[in-house]
Amino acid sequence: MFVTDIRKEFYDIVVNQRVALLVSLDVDALCACKVLQALFHCDQVQYTLVPVKGWQDLGTAFLEHKEQFRYFVLINCGANVDLLETLQPEEETIFFICDTHRPVDVVNVYNDTQIKLLIKQDDDLGVPSYDDIFRDDEEEGGDQDSGNESDGSSEPSGKRRRFDEVSLIAARQRARREWEARRREILFDYEQYEYHGTAVMVLFELAWVMSKDTKDMLWWAIIGLTDQWVHDRITHMKYVTDIAALQRHVSRHNHCNEDEDNSLSIDCMRICFEYDLRLSLYQHWSLYESICNSCYTLSTFKLWSIQGQKKLQEFLADMGLPLKQVRQKFNSMDIAIKENLRDVIEESSNKYGMKDIRIQTFGVHFGFKNKFLATDVVHAAAALLESVEKDESGTDNFIKALDCLSRSNLDQLHRGIELAKKKLMAIQQTVASCICTHLILSQGPFLYLCVCLFSKPLALTLLCKYLLKSFARSTRNKRCKILPLVMAAPLDVEKGTVIVMGIPPECETSDKKNFFGRAFEKAAESTSSRTLHDNFDMSIIELKMQDRSKFLDALVTLLS
């Protein structure tokens, strides 16, 4: 059931208990986890934090900890599947789920005792009403009884009565079949598309309601929201609305402390609203590199082709930026150039068809040297979370990424930024090579591609998004522009598995609803391919390499 007063129904219950936190591996979950940890530290709630990568990890972690804990808090996992059936917990175990995955499974919504959903109900959830899906079983028992009675009843007046009863039973059964058909339809409509909300905003509001919010928590909320936007999980509308809400909090925090007489020391954290450029990591890189490796500019200029490179040179010349300056590290650029950079770039980009080169976001600065934008931190944390260096397991990376979010671990953050730069360059090269060599095949209802380098979900998501955007700009085929994309990448060479992921078509006003989750499930069932639906996102699965072709054929038939 949905929790209406998050403070009374969640926080006041766990504040005197020991809690197990099961956190999924994405940046929004990390931020939500940091906020909750900070609250728990304030109130000295004992907890245990366990990172979980997928459903199997969740099951294992639950089994290991179910003896010791009665209260479980699940962050970014568990809402979109019938949790009680998957985990089979005891009667007294209570789950608090703060998840961004939608649609929320109907059993989780209507369970009153063991499942509490920490989800804001004004998100467009569209949960079907109770009577449409569940029905008391007494009526069925009633049918059977009256059936038995009519069998055992005595003769002539019995016969007429039996006739009436039989027609009554037939009418009831017909009504029941209609109800079931309607129920299947409603559930199908409800469950066919997968989309997202935000987790960290809910927890930040909890902190605010208790007046325990700090600038650190606000910054984590900002990073969580930006992560949803960078990885294309929420619509632009929702992003802008939530940014406005956060902007109010930022103003409130800024007005609390500063005034004429006592200004804050330079080491304190300052968060400010920025209407900044959509160029990834540009303040930690050179402007030229950043333009070449950001999705927006990459796809608009078509930088994989020679004309694209020429256009970029024109663009830079148009703004009056000398190449030598632009290729330097951003911090060493001429101050005169840096001053009006954003306005100059915005003016020129309007000419080149890039209407929204600027995006509303926030920046933080503390100390003399440390200035970061929210997108920088998101890219750094995501790169750390999925770094593929040897001898590092998923949980090691989780710890590193969690560390990089605190202000005292700046070297971890810088390491993350370097890794993010490598990742973006690799993505750009892959996109360029795929488009130049026409590796993307149109399979009818979707586009298909197989790449070799990326095997982790977040990196693969970014790659898919950049690729689809670039492809949509580069292809002449009108039909292909609006097709969704399915991408396969080898995951584990020894076991012979590939990771398959699908994203919805690229469109300005898309609502980011992804139907591939259910489509993959059905295709796997119909071809009995050996698949593993382990990721919390239903649209990312693992598949055996041999079953790939029949799986794709089934998918084609399903979606046409």
Partner: protein
């Protein structure tokens, strides 16, 4: 080394008519004294370290460390332990005061720790059991964690 040995050797040399050996004898004596000082300094330093071990590891030393101590040093350690225990019992009224805990002023009642290796189950004061698995983080009372932090199983996370 008593001064007598040196004098004795000198007298012998004089009586045998070999007075040219006297500087060598004096020199040898100085060397021996120096060696004696070095050895004593070394043994004293060992003793100070053994004393520090009581404060770091508690009353029971790990076998790896006991292996490197000789019998006399173990005996000395036990005596020191007894001495410290008597002193602690004499402080703080009835039950005594364990001064080996909290050597630095504690900042908070509970600390966040991260598990560096799989340690299995761990019981805390109210009887509840915590599973210490690698890379899990826990928020636990400080006095229970100190022992494990010293052993290297847990790491204190400062954020």
């Amino acid at each position: 080394m008593p001064r007598n040995c040196c004098l004795h050797s000198e007298n012998e040399a004089k009586s045998e008519g070999r007075s040219e050996l006297i500087p060598s004898i004096k020199f040898r004596h100085c060397c021996l004294l120096r060696n004696q000082r070095c050895v004593t300094a070394y043994l004293y330093d060992r003793l100070l370290r053994i004393r520090a071990l009581r404060w770091e590891y508690g009353s029971v030393l790990p076998a790896a460390i006991r292996f490197h101590m000789c019998a006399e040093e173990l005996e000395w350690f036990n005596q020191y332990k007894k001495s410290l225990a008597t002193y602690m019992r004499s402080l703080g009224g009835e039950e005594g005061l364990d001064i080996t805990q909290d050597r630095k002023p504690p900042k908070s009642l509970y600390i966040e720790v991260r598990c560096l290796k799989d340690h299995g189950e761990f019981e805390i004061d109210d009887g509840t059991i915590i599973l210490l698995k690698k890379n899990s983080q826990h928020f636990l009372p400080r006095w229970k964690c100190e022992q494990l932090i010293r052993q290297g199983v847990l790491e204190h996370v400062i954020s």
